[in-house]
């Protein structure tokens, strides 16, 4: 039982200040009835669930914007670096490009825009990894399939021969977090894919989009960064970019009566940390409430009350992007019941979300809107590095 659980009365002024400082204010007030326990990671003053499910309209969801969408916020530095790398590659110098960024910063949206940034005669091929390649054959088949060629088997050399017989292309690989695995004996597919990229970089231009945490782990575990000539790092939006995002994608955009003022934008930026989808959700909440009040930053006490294994599990889920119960069972050497209880608890705390997959066990990832908060906490606690 925590210190907060024992509270039966409303906290006084000094107690409130102390709880505010230690991030336990919402939980303390939740316990005034002495019965229910709110373990969810949420805003300090209101519930995220008040927003309800995300609307289908991409103007408000975090879905990637299609190519050429006018609402795309210019990523000028990344664009210049990609254009330069492409020009260098065309001059005959082999290159591998990595595009990294924190979860939800808009990597897929940037990938969608890249073909339109390059000269018209550039042919792009998009490969969206849907799962972690189990074997070398599986990984190589995923790529050769993208070229419309038959699988070449487990040998990297055969796949290299197959790809070099194809006309040169810009190959955009999305969901690069699937190229990191902590599972014992499961790196053959990843190594094969890395080998294929390195061997064909003179013929094709590879661009791998990968979330920051997964990229760091790849670099730590296999020194992947040695092979990449350009590592372009994206970040969450700045305050000004957040204001532009809200002005262009907020449903009240253009309506002066509903427009957000500077203080509201500052508050949204402070709470969302520049995470686009979260900023849009906060704007929507402000629009729904009459006062236009922006929720206070997150109350992180549920994260602080997690046990070490739960924090380690969150860190592994963050680094891998998506993990199944079986994966976690292998990483933590626990029985299935233990892992299911752990996942259930993390789900109850709103920290992870299930990812349904066709004909496969569902995976789990960090709750997309809460990923910046969770990752920041895990870094502070030294479970992510």
């Amino acid at each position: 039982m925590t210190r907060v659980d024992r509270r039966t009365r409303n906290p006084g002024f000094f107690q409130r200040q102390y709880l505010r400082l230690t991030g336990r204010l919402r939980r303390a007030t939740d316990h005034t009835d002495g019965e229910t326990t709110d373990q969810r990671l949420d805003f300090a003053d209101v519930s995220l669930s008040q927003l309800g499910p995300s609307p289908a309209d991409t103007a408000l969801t975090g879905a990637p914007l299609p190519a050429g969408d006018p609402r795309f916020l210019a990523r000028d530095t990344a664009r210049a670096a990609i254009e330069h790398a492409h020009a260098t590659w065309r001059e005959g110098r082999p290159r591998l490009i990595a595009l990294t960024g924190p979860s939800g910063c808009g990597l897929s949206t940037v990938l969608n825009q890249i073909p339109s940034w390059l000269p018209g005669d550039t042919t792009a091929l998009r490969i969206d990894l849907q799962h972690r390649p189990g074997t070398a054959g599986d990984a190589l088949a995923r790529v050769t399939h993208g070229f419309g060629a038959a699988p070449t088997g487990d040998a990297v050399d055969d796949a290299v021969a197959c790809l070099t017989a194809q006309p040169p292309r810009l190959i955009l690989v999305d969901n690069g977090h699937y190229l990191y695995s902590r599972l014992m004996g499961s790196n053959d597919g990843i190594r094969a894919l890395h080998g294929l990229m390195v061997a064909t970089q003179g013929h094709h231009l590879w661009l791998l989009a990968c979330e920051t945490q997964a990229w760091r782990r790849q670099c730590d575990a296999t020194r992947t960064d040695r092979y990449f000539d350009d590592i372009i790092a994206l970040d969450y939006l700045s305050r000004d970019d957040t204001a532009t995002l809200l002005a262009t994608r907020h449903p009240a955009a253009g309506d002066a009566a509903l427009a957000l003022d500077d203080d509201q934008i500052d508050a949204i930026f402070k709470t969302s940390r520049g995470h686009p989808a979260l900023a849009l959700h906060l704007a929507e909440l402000a629009m729904r409430t009459n006062a236009g009040q922006i929720p206070a930053p997150f109350d992180e006490s549920p994260l602080r009350e997690l046990e070490r294994t739960e924090l380690l599990a969150l860190a592994e889920i963050s680094a891998h992007g998506v993990l199944t119960a079986a994966d976690l069972q292998s990483i933590f050497r626990r029985d299935s019941q233990g892992i299911n209880i752990l996942l259930h608890h993390l789900h109850q705390c709103s920290l992870i979300a299930a990812v349904p997959r066709e004909a496969a066990e569902p995976g789990y990832r960090l709750q997309p809107l809460l990923a910046p908060v969770i990752n920041a906490h895990l870094v502070r606690a030294n479970y992510l590095y």
């Binding site: 004996g185 380690l312 990483i331 933590f332 502070r380 606690a381 030294n382 479970y383 590095y385």
Partner: protein, 269 residues
């Protein structure tokens, strides 16, 4: 003359001085507790900075107590020089004779604050004890071993013998895990499995390298191949957990692949 000295002493030991002194000491104790509470709260909030926060406390506490003693002597009591020198002389002699070991430990504690062989949070090996430094007092150091025993070691002892410090102020530390295999065995495969097992452990700090060293030794007349896995743990407190986890993974994988158990797969092939 004697009457004058007595009168001076009575003035110094007046009730007002006594109350003020007690008040100042109480305030100092409260301040020290407040600082400790603040540092503990900060360490809970920022676990990554846990060691740095804990390391600053002994020096701060020393500073507070020295300032308190100086304040009491110079501002509250304000003894005449003659009394001060007489008291100091007598005190030094008495304390020096009665508490030689204590003073030695105290001086060693002060030396260790300014020239520390280890700090709070470090894992050290000393005099047959291995554990985390949980408290650094002026006269003694407290270790917590992996058996959850608390060991008190007088500070003077540290200036006499060699101390092995595993992490020197960092959260991560190298853990050495020996795994013995009967000869013959497939050494290359066993080494790869051991390295893979270390990297697969969720407690392994991947920012630092994993190494496996192979050596040989005799055990009960049998030739044994020793794999020494060297990996860094993400937090010193998880040292034994990681060692156990990696040993378990390595042995299971070796058994699964029959690397160590079937002579026909040996290097002699």
């Amino acid at each position: 003359m004697e009457d004058q000295t007595l009168a001076q002493l009575l003035t110094l030991l007046s009730l007002r001085h006594l109350v003020e002194t007690i008040l100042v000491i109480a305030l100092a104790a409260l301040l020290v507790r407040g600082i400790r509470f603040t540092l503990d709260t900060l360490a809970e909030r920022y676990p990554r900075a846990r060691l740095q926060l804990a390391q600053g406390f002994p020096a701060i506490r020393l500073l507070v107590w020295v300032a308190t003693i100086v304040f009491i002597a110079m501002v509250i009591v304000r003894p005449p020089d003659s009394v001060m020198f007489a008291l100091l002389g007598s005190l030094s002699l008495a304390v020096g004779l009665a508490a030689q070991d204590g003073i030695r430990n105290l001086i060693a504690g002060v030396v260790m604050i300014f020239n520390p062989p280890f700090r709070t949070g470090d894992m050290i090996q000393f005099g047959g004890h291995y554990g985390e430094v949980v408290r650094l007092d002026l006269s003694a150091t407290w270790l917590r071993t992996f058996d959850d025993n608390t060991v008190m070691i007088p500070n003077a002892e540290f200036l006499k013998g060699a101390v092995a410090n595993s992490n020197s102020g960092a959260l991560d530390e190298m853990v050495v895990i020996p795994v013995d295999l009967p000869w013959p065995c497939n050494i290359a495969e066993a080494r790869a499995i051991a390295a893979d097992a270390a990297r697969a452990s969720p407690y392994c700090y991947l920012k630092k390298p994993v190494a496996v060293v192979v050596s040989q030794r005799q055990e009960l007349g049998q030739l044994v191949v020793r794999l020494t896995i060297k990996a860094y743990v993400v937090d010193v407190r998880l040292e034994r957990v990681m060692a156990s986890d990696i040993t378990e993974r390595t042995l299971e994988a070796l058994a699964e692949r029959h690397t160590a158990l079937t002579p026909e797969m040996s290097c002699a092939e």
